[in-house]
């Protein structure tokens, strides 16, 4: 055991105490946080400072519209007809992004046009539509009813016949949540690929410079293999944990200082939501107001559930794939050898990414169910499935996936140990499946 720990510690030191590790530790989270920032800003783009001119010759809106509901959209009124050409070319109108034309018959024909200069994003369109409809509604109530606005809105509520799956009674947005699982699964796959290749290169290099001859005169080949897998895995885990800490800290700082406007508690302070507004209206209002990326990042990720299983499956899938990579590294005749077996393994990892993508889009398909039990795809499949939520009473499926992956890892470790033992001192050959099988059976 001491030998394994010594080899592991050497591998950790070799990988952790160097500039490239520190650099990737900083650059990785910085890259992800930059992407998050760009995505949030991109999703929010178009909301900023949109100035809408309302041409209301019939004074139907009476010069009133609530701009409080979205501070990013400003409204101004003109009481004359405005030709589109005049709006497009006229100097006084160049500061306006869109022209909302309220014709005099709007209360009857319910037809309104809005002409924009640059395409308005969906959130902005929703915001304008929502604000305008509410104002027209107020005018209609005032004109045709004795009811108060709140009372009218209570009456107006449609009957909400909500069809829900018994597998998802809370009607949470599975697809959206699935992408969160896909993100975690992808992290597992990418780290496994990166550090698996690191094991392979390490073993191949040690074979090439013949230090394995000295090593196996001191420790057994399986001990050497385990030392490498544990050491490289610990370095990977360290990088993963530190990266996550940095990313989560970054997201927290973003929440506090950069994205504070997006959070409901803050934004609600400037909004008047009538007390009678029901859950549906609240939700609709929130969707209009909130940024989708922010919503996904800060509301949809259940970290307390995802993180423990993420680390558990990361570790086992790393051992599973790591054993494969070390096996190929040991069996290689030279540093440049082994492409014939590396490629299928990399393709299997990439297939996992595809399987996860397919699962998000088709969570109920048979293929999605099958992927949970195939060790190669299980880490990704479980992450996606976990983020979408297991149905009540089906939580045990996660543990079946876990057990299959665990047993497969032990099996591959055992086979890799045998190949390691037989092939580590063979040099100069060309690696083939045949030779691999021969080494597996040789003692």
């Amino acid at each position: 055991m001491r030998s394994i720990l010594l080899i592991s510690w050497k591998e950790i030191r070799q990988r952790v105490f160097n500039r490239s590790f520190v650099l990737s530790l900083i650059l990785g989270p910085v890259f992800i946080l930059t992407c998050v920032y760009i995505l949030v800003k991109a999703a929010d783009e178009g909301k900023k400072n949109v100035h809408v001119l309302i041409a209301d010759p019939g004074d139907i809106l009476q010069g009133v519209i609530s701009s409080k509901e979205d501070p990013n959209v400003q409204y101004s009124f003109v009481s004359d007809y405005l030709e589109i050409d005049e709006f497009a070319q006229g100097k006084p109108y160049q500061d306006f992004d869109a022209l909302l034309e309220v014709n005099e018959k709007v209360l009857n024909n319910k037809k309104v046009f809005i002409f924009y200069r640059d395409y308005l994003s969906d959130p902005v369109q929703n915001s304008i539509r929502f604000t305008f409809e509410r104002r027209v509604e107020e005018v209609l109530i005032e004109e045709f009813s004795d009811l108060t606005v709140d009372a009218f809105r209570q009456l107006k509520q449609p009957l909400n016949l909500d069809f829900r799956s018994i597998m998802n009674p809370t009607n949470s947005n599975e697809g959206e949540a699935g992408w969160v699982g896909y993100f975690f699964g992808s992290i597992i796959i990418l780290f496994t690929l990166f550090y698996g290749m690191s094991i392979l290169r390490g073993v191949a290099r040690e074979k090439a410079n013949r230090v394995v001859e000295v090593m196996v005169s001191i420790v057994s080949p399986p001990q050497l293999m385990m030392g490498k897998i544990i050491g490289v895995g610990a370095a990977a885990l360290l990088q993963l944990v530190l990266s996550l800490v940095l990313i989560l800290s970054g997201l927290y700082l973003f929440q506090e200082f950069l994205f504070s406007d997006f959070f409901l508690n803050d934004s609600l302070s400037g909004v008047q939501v009538s007390e009678g507004a029901n859950e549906l209206l609240q939700h609709e209002f929130q969707r209009v107001r909130n940024n989708e990326v922010i919503h996904l990042l800060y509301d949809r990720i259940n970290l307390t559930l995802m993180l423990p299983f993420f680390f558990l499956f990361f570790l086992i899938s790393y051992v599973f794939y790591g054993a494969f990579f070390s096996l190929i590294g040991a069996a290689m005749g030279s540093e440049g050898d082994g492409q014939v077996l590396i490629l299928p393994l990399v393709l299997l990892l990439l297939f996992s990414l595809f399987a996860g993508y397919f699962m998000v889009l088709n969570p109920a398909s048979q293929f999605s169910s099958l992927c949970q039990y195939i060790p190669f795809t299980a880490p990704m499949a479980v992450m996606v499935k976990l983020s979408m939520g297991y149905a009540i009473g089906e939580g045990y499926l996660l543990w079946i996936s876990f057990l299959i992956l665990l047993l497969s890892s032990f099996l591959i470790l055992w086979i890799a140990g045998k190949v390691f033992k037989s092939s580590l001192l063979s040099f100069g050959h060309r690696l083939s499946l045949k030779s691999l099988f021969r080494w597996r059976t040789r003692t």
């Binding site: 230090v211 001859e213 000295v214 001191i218 001192l425």
Partner: protein
């Protein structure tokens, strides 16, 4: 010390060792000789438990050789290998710990060998930046850093300059005098003759000879004579007649010529002197001492003839 009993090993039906039985004497330097492919490396790897024999067994100090014994064995492989990105100090400490030394012992032993092998200025240099000779010293230190009682050294002096060859040879004699057992595998016959008290000769996976140098040489008589004379070369050549063949000759100071002759048949020194008398002035005649090259080639030739 090490007893090898009826050991056989094959790779894909190709026999590398065939029923090899040997005793490696304690406190001696034993030369392990043999042409390429004789089975030396396989035997060395079996002694390090890197391969398991198909048949037979090995004993270390009377016990079946097992993993625990490896901490008493030092191994210097022919194909040198070190961790290129570790410093000299880290390299030695790592291998010392791996051989079972405590952290403190490992540090202390690494320091000892760094000083002993005159590597202090390179202590914190990575192996990749060392010269070949310096890397060889580190490799040697790796083999001995845990103070083993049994050393297996495969071509230990290759790559060293004459000064360092002398340094390593002195160290090996020190080890021997301290009671350590050393196996020296080399193709350099002169080195075997200089350093070893025993030899093992392998050929085609079998033991051809295993004995002390004295025993080996006592059974081996040279066919060569060395003669020093004054006179003409033609007269000397004529005097040899058909009984002796002139291999080569060199002129020494003072008009003396030294000639090396190969005898034919069972001719003796007396026959040589009789042939030469009256033709040249004989200064000295002696039977040439056999060397390891001759013994090695002769033994292998005998084997081929059998």
């Amino acid at each position: 010390m090490i007893e090898i009993s009826h050991v056989s090993k094959s790779f894909r039906r190709k026999s590398a060792l065939n029923n090899v039985s040997l005793n490696i004497p304690r406190g001696k330097i034993t030369g392990l000789l043999g042409p390429n492919g004789a089975g030396k490396t396989t035997l060395i790897r079996i002694m390090n438990l890197m391969y398991l024999p198909d048949d037979g067994f090995l004993k270390y100090n009377g016990q079946l050789l097992k993993k625990d014994h490896l901490k008493n064995i030092g191994y210097l492989p022919e194909e040198r290998g070190l961790y290129q990105d570790l410093t000299v100090q880290e390299q030695l400490t790592f291998f010392a710990k791996l051989r079972g030394l405590s952290n403190l012992e490992a540090e202390s032993s690494a320091n000892y060998w760094i000083e002993k092998l005159e590597m202090k200025p390179w202590r914190n240099k990575q192996v990749v930046s060392l010269s070949k000779g310096m890397a060889q010293k580190v490799q040697f230190a790796v083999a001995v850093v845990h103070d083993p009682e049994f050393l297996i050294l495969d071509e230990p002096l290759t790559g060293f300059d004459p000064i360092n060859i002398d340094l390593i040879k002195k160290l090996l004699f020190e080890f021997r005098d301290a009671g350590k057992t050393i196996i020296l595998s080399t193709h350099n016959m002169q080195r075997v003759q200089d350093m070893c008290s025993h030899i093992i000769l392998l050929n085609k996976g079998k033991v051809v000879s295993a004995s002390s140098i004295e025993d080996l040489f006592s059974g081996f008589v040279s066919n060569h004579f060395v003669v020093r004379y004054k006179g003409t070369g033609i007269a000397f050549a004529n005097a040899l007649w058909t009984d002796f063949e002139l291999v080569n000759q060199v002129e020494l100071p003072g008009g003396v010529i030294e000639a090396r002759l190969l005898k034919r048949g069972d001719k003796s020194v007396d026959d040589l002197i009789k042939n030469l008398q009256g033709h040249v002035a004989i200064e000295a005649v002696q039977l040439e001492q056999p060397n390891m090259d001759d013994v090695f080639i002769s033994l292998l030739e005998n084997l081929e003839n059998e």
